[in-house]
Symmetry: C2
Amino acid sequence: MNKEPFLDYIGNYITLSKEEEALLFSKIIERNYLKDQYIVQQGDVCKSVNFILSGCTKTFYIDAAGQEHIVGFSIADWWTSDLGSFITQSPADFHVQCIESTKILQFRYEELEVLYQEIPKLERLFRKITERAFVASQKRIIRNFSLTAKERYRIFKDTYPKIEQRVPQYMIASYLGITKEFLSKIKRQLSLEK
Amino acid sequence: MNKEPFLDYIGNYITLSKEEEALLFSKIIERNYLKDQYIVQQGDVCKSVNFILSGCTKTFYIDAAGQEHIVGFSIADWWTSDLGSFITQSPADFHVQCIESTKILQFRYEELEVLYQEIPKLERLFRKITERAFVASQKRIIRNFSLTAKERYRIFKDTYPKIEQRVPQYMIASYLGITKEFLSKIKRQLSLEK
DNA sequence: AAAGAAGATTAAACTAGATTAACTTTTATT
DNA sequence: AATAAAAGTTAATCTAGTTTAATCTTCTTT
């Protein structure tokens, strides 16, 4: 198991002893998924939170009208899960699907509960991670309210340049909450403005 | 200080010893605000997270065009803050203003950091609270994407009936991301449908 | 009770973005 | 290389929600 990326990542938040590290890694699983495979399926109970080592996932749901809505993308050093389903152990609202072949470190529900008891610092780690995720989510709400689609697209490009290059445009449109046709129109407008 | 509501609340997540409770209450402040007073001001660094004992607050921001956008309301047993500002100790994106006279328990930044060291269980408490807040925020994003304003209004009424009664309509419109005029139109439509 | 301020309604004109449908380009498969 | 499938573009038409502006109603304050 390649532990470095995850150790580097958590080093931003907490410091673990060698024993704690060993215990931690004894409870997490490295898994590989192919392009198009699902890590979480809408309707199933989500049993894991997943740290991405490589690859790319999309989190989305299918609404009553059968329409797909992309909630977010995740790449290396990010997390992916349906947290609402995970914490309440109730059916997931979202699918999480790999849009490239993807390698993850998987924390399963039961093991994580045990780990919290054995390494209380992990509470701090996940508190801080979740705080940041919540703040990002709030900022997205206000962006959706006060900005036009064109401005949102510009910010998306600036904020996640790596994702923009890897993900098909129609998925970006879905993430931005607009149709692929309208994103096409925006791109032409932007190209004419320059 | 009336400790009961807060003790009842945290009892849902963690169990504290009497000594821990005493320590906790030695570090938090009870404060009273009048209608229209600000707990947090956009641009200032947010120094506290606040548990509401009574009253009602709105969290909002003023955009580049001078428009007010309401991010959320909080009533008794909820929290209010600008968490992004609080955790990074950088200028707040949001105002938090009382829309009724409001009584809060205030956790100041420095004290909370100390409390986390002294009562590690509080990490767990705030992890769980933040997880729930994050999930609610995600659900709001997907609602904003896939539902019409009329549907969103219906859900708001069903989910927060107490808030709907206490808050002027133009603020609810702002929270829903629509104009007060359009909310008026929706209400007439709903009244004709019945 | 009067007067002003704050909040809510109505209606007409307008626009950002959706829908539909045809077409083009790129990528994957044999 | 040929074909099909997936992704992206364009343009016409349509609609949910905005804007503007006038009017009405309900609170506050004196």
